[in-house]
Amino acid sequence: MRVILKTRPRKKPHVPIEAEGIIPQNFLRKNDLSVYEGNRERHLEDLFFVTVEGPAVSPDQVEVILTGDTGRIKRVGEYMNAGRIIIEGDIGMHCGNFMSAGEIIVRGNADAWLGREMRGGRILCEGNAGDYCGAGYRGEKRGMRGGTVEVMGNAGDFVAEYLSGGEVIVHGDCGDLPGVEMRGGTLVIGGNCSRPCGNMTGGTCMVLGDPGELLPSFRRNGSTEAEFGGKKFRMAVFRGDVANRGKGTLLVREDLKSSRP
């Protein structure tokens, strides 16, 4: 089954839409989903032209396609556990919250909190991702716990904050403090960043670009070889964050290893 949701023009296009109902399993039985535009409850049809093609007997046979002005739609794919969502353009915040299985493909850019507290499945963002990509929620001790988030472009600040399991791969640059409070899982940064892994207590982070300034609280611990994008790199190994009880691993390129402030 293919469900195509094309946005209708809106009078107030900046008012955010919350559409946690947009997950494959919900289209098996019904189309009369509620979505919210600001503080108003709307029918799915009020905001989207909905086209359904073909049958499905289980959610993994459902593919949802979002097109149009989708950059303000939040929470698409929340709690998704099967099937696939393809977003032709940009997507709003919290795409794939708590997702446990299935696949989300974002052809454009994703706003902040992409894959927040994700448990499993796969998110591919072909453009850039915002702040807190693959992160957790305020006050919680664990962020993303499983699955894969892959960003082909850049990502913002606090990427993979509190990462506890699973894998976050950003091919481009990250902002400040990627992997901050990280306690498990893997973070791979293809490009540059600054102050990676502040206060980390576990997990592994690998930075293939310039890591900017490293925090003083990482202890050099030999070197190793790593592979990324089909190339091999000589990596300096750091353990940290020793300001904490840190047992995390930070790998930075031996040839780009940067200043310690």
Partner: protein, 567 residues
């Protein structure tokens, strides 16, 4: 305006009136229980369902600085229990530290109409009273903290009981408090230096008084002032393996009762009944504690039951919270209050996989089952320290059903039984015991029967809870699931003659009262004009004496219990 309700066919248990289970009618008029309902009264057919006086929680943390800080620091807790505005009900959030309306609605749907906030720092009393106003469905009382009060400790050092009494009288009246609360007496002052006291004879740094002296003096002061409640004590060494000795020694400090009520109330005694020397060999000493309790009618305790799951611990016992933080390494808040007390907050998770937690769980139940007299052991979780109060129905069911305890035994750490006597106890509490432990006993211990709390005979306040439970058709020992469900949600909760909750929904906007006490003292004992007291106040507090007392505007429906001090 005359408002009447006639409750027909109620299966009433009203321990204070000597009714142990009798199908009868209850008439209500103008907020009071009366002989006969006025014409045109609303008729409620209770259909033989269990009908009790409104529930009273004699030790709970629901309002004030540290409770609100528990909310403030825990957005993750707020994700549970979120409800939107519905009818007269406001938005609520939170599980272990719900918003004020969340607390109020949940208590109300469980049939609770009176709640005592367990710890109010005098300096921050205004905050507690503001939250009382936003907890509209329960009449509220505030235990007022004196554990690290400098003026009190100086009076204790000078062995001047009368001065201690005068300070208490002035403070309670100033902050609209209800009773004397001592939390780890002396320990909170020591915590001002990052220290604690080791036992009740360990002197408090600088002040050179011992916890035992503070406790004894305050008990005497309390009786001099003829306060309705006794000293309400959170013993030293909370949560420390081997602390049962401290607790036993403390119980020995309680002088014989002079009248009808205890001279010492020990709160959350589960946390104070540990044997062993470390967390590795912690064991239950509930039998020792219960033995002492059973021989001392002058002592009343509450359980401080823990239940498995997550919660937030919060107490004025600052040093204890720091020790707990060192074990859990999650997050820790602390808030010392100048010249008075302290407080700490940390989130915890009580796990069935943790032997220590299982032992703690067992001890609470054991205390209730081993206490011969239900009037001496009241039901509490020290909400939310042992568990959020919404767990009360589950605790009731555990106390009423050995079978349920046996089922739970299969789920917990199998080593538990070697450290606790719980599974050898056959006792199953009955409906009457539960009625005592959840309302009548509280009313008596708090001394608020005099304002009509805790009973249902004519003259009483019309606080009534009707539960969907038919005692003559239920065997709680077997049907514990029904017991649990029934106590979770009343058919009707009636507060001061008005139906406030029905079938789990709150149906009116509340308007509670705040109950406080004032002891009249002779002019010579008025601390407000005592030169030494006022001078020290000006020197060491950071608010002016004149800005300290809580104004009347904070108690729109204050109920003052006045006493004549024997000074």
């Amino acid at each position: 305006m005359t408002q009447g309700i006639l409750i027909k066919n109620a299966y009433v248990i009203d321990p204070l009136s000597g009714i142990r289970g009798e199908v009868m009618d209850i008439a209500i008029r103008d907020g009071r229980i009366v002989e006969e309902a006025p014409p045109g009264s609303q008729v409620i057919d209770a259909g033989g369902c269990l009908t009790l006086p409104g529930g009273i929680d004699s030790h709970s943390h629901v309002c004030g600085t540290k409770v609100n800080f528990g909310r403030y620091m825990s957005p993750e807790d707020m994700r549970a229990g979120r409800t939107s505005r519905k009818g007269v009900m406001h938005v609520t959030s939170g599980y272990s530290v719900p918003t004020t309306f969340g607390n109020s609605y949940r208590y109300s749907t469980m049939g609770y109409t009176t709640v005592l906030e367990g710890a109010m720092a005098p300096l921050e009393a205004r905050h507690t009273h503001e939250e009382f106003t936003a907890t509209p469905h329960q009449d509220m009382l505030a235990n007022t903290l004196f554990d690290g009060n400098w003026s009190v400790m100086e009076a204790v050092r000078d062995k001047d009981v009368k001065r201690a009494a005068a300070i208490v009288a002035w403070t309670l009246a100033a902050v609209r408090g209800f009773a004397i609360k001592l939390t780890n007496p002396g320990g909170t002052e020591a915590w001002g230096w990052g220290k604690d006291v080791a036992n009740i004879h360990d002197p408090v740094p600088h002040f050179e008084v011992t916890p035992a002296e503070i406790i004894s003096t305050m008990i005497q002061a309390n009786e001099i002032l003829r306060l309705p409640h006794s000293v309400h004590l959170h013993c030293n060494n909370l949560g420390v393996p081997g602390n049962f000795r401290t607790t036993l020694e403390t119980m020995d400090l309680a002088p014989p009762a002079q009248g009808n009520r205890q001279t010492l109330y020990l709160t959350h005694v589960q946390f104070h009944s540990y044997g062993g020397t470390t967390w590795r060999d912690i064991s239950s000493k509930s039998e020792d504690i219960a033995r002492s309790l059973n021989s001392k009618p002058q002592v009343v305790i509450d359980m401080g039951q823990i239940m498995f799951g997550r919660t937030t611990t919060m107490t004025a016992d600052g040093p204890m919270e720091f020790k707990l933080y060192m074990l859990h390494h999650n997050k820790w808040s602390n808030h010392d209050v100048e010249l008075e007390t302290g407080s700490g907050i940390i989130p915890v998770y009580y796990s069935r996989k943790s032997l220590v937690n299982c032992v703690m769980w067992a001890i609470g139940l054991e205390l209730a089952l081993l206490a011969k007299n239900p009037w001496q052991c009241l039901l509490s979780t020290d909400n939310p320290n042992g568990a959020p109060f919404v767990k009360y129905p589950e605790i009731i069911a555990l106390l009423m059903s050995r079978r349920m305890r046996e089922n739970e035994r299969k789920e917990i750490d199998p080593r538990t039984e070697h450290y606790v006597p719980l599974f050898a106890l056959e006792r199953e509490l009955d409906w009457y015991d539960i009625a005592v432990m959840t309302r009548a006993g509280q009313a008596k211990a708090l001394g608020i029967t005099r304002i009509g709390k805790g009973f249902l005979s004519p003259g009483a306040q019309a606080d009534v809870a009707i539960y969907p439970l038919k005692p003559d058709q239920l065997d709680p020992s077997v049907d514990y699931q029904q017991v649990m469900a029934g106590f979770s949600r009343t058919l009707y909760t009636i507060k001061r003659g008005r139906v406030v909750a029905r079938d789990g929904d709150v149906v009116v906007e509340g308007a509670n009262s705040t109950i406080w006490t004032r002891s009249r003292v002779p002019p010579g004992y008025d601390m407000g004009s005592d030169p030494e007291f006022t001078k020290k106040f000006d020197q060491y507090y950071t608010v002016r004496l004149r800005n300290y007392p809580v104004q009347d505007v904070y108690l729109p429906r204050g109920v003052c219990i006045e006493t004549e001090a024997a000074l």
